[in-house]
Symmetry: C2
Subunit: 203 residues, 2 copies
Amino acid sequence: METIEKEEGKLEVILKAAQKKFAEFGLAKTTMNDIAAEIGMGKASLYYYFSCKESLYEAVISKEQDHFLQEIQKTIKPTASAISIMKVYAKKRMRLFEYCLNLAKLNGDGVSNCLPFVKKLFEEFGKQEVELISSILEHGMNIGEFAPIHPKVEAEFVCSVMLGLRQAAKYRMKESLMTKEDYKNLNANMDKAVDMFICSILV
Amino acid sequence: METIEKEEGKLEVILKAAQKKFAEFGLAKTTMNDIAAEIGMGKASLYYYFSCKESLYEAVISKEQDHFLQEIQKTIKPTASAISIMKVYAKKRMRLFEYCLNLAKLNGDGVSNCLPFVKKLFEEFGKQEVELISSILEHGMNIGEFAPIHPKVEAEFVCSVMLGLRQAAKYRMKESLMTKEDYKNLNANMDKAVDMFICSILV
DNA sequence: ACATAGACTAATTTTCTATTTTGGTCGAAT
DNA sequence: ATTCGACCAAAATAGAAAATTAGTCTATGT
């Protein structure tokens, strides 16, 4: 029995095409045809794998979310100091958003004018990130780096600041698209904010 | 020669009506008729005082801006510690936005999908606030409370965080309107962020 | 001159309708 | 198990018709 991997599963191929098209046009402006055409398939065939457009979009977001959280998890070594983990977190978070474009869009566009199920996806991701940061903070408390705090409360605060800085960057930018310069500035602000936060909870 | 003040100037009356209506409906959805009707005037008469709708809106924003900056200036006593000034600033800023509704809207709504002249108004206000905070930080440096920093850079960072937190709050809120609870949370986050910031630049 | 407003216009917005596109289904083919 | 052409109903789009609205001009009273 040979497990040949020359071909990735069809599902994977579809997801990649969908990821690409959704990132390019957004959920509303991407048609099922766009996605099918991208991989030379018939539109109807997509419905063999996904019950509807929304579920395909959900799968794409889920994929990016998993990738995001998995990559972040890698940076968390129980041996490392919580301080350095938090610092690495901020940096890696920014870099990951460049790959997880749909996730980034979810964080960048307003969530008020979007479908309820998209809002749910965003909130779910937010919750998971709060959870993750909570665990880092707890780790820091356990090894005596951080003062006794409410991990969840503080994690929510940090997430608000990070989300906010991204929004503020979009708000302030000159063109309708963020330039390299904008990203550089955003990165700097993120690092600064996280440093400040860490400083504020040191023992 | 007697200076009777029983009647406020017509210009003032118009500005108040415009402020009210713009705050209620926004720039686009407020008609010159709405404003004129509010004070029992003919629409055409407004054009005796203001050349166009935009200039009337500008005047309203200017008025709120002046009020905002003037009120803030009051809190800055050269004798007070820069630390306390910054803390008061954060609190007063939030309270003032509840009165300067059009200014708050400018800060709350996205600025990307609006007229260029509105974007300019926002940027101008932003600049003035950066200037103001800069002066507070410099004051703090002069009296030896704050470490040697670049006041403008730090001021811009604080403004980004404050703008961002407001945006994040809008992002996270359940309803399309902010509840008392949302405001309470936003207030807490603002205070916390400013405290953190102050802490980060102490000598 | 100072203020005000009715009547008017050009431009913009809104509304309504005809047309196309798109999400989704089904049965046939492979 | 997988793919797709043909089809449908719903949604988006486009374009013309109708209604609002910003702004002007002139007349009128003060």
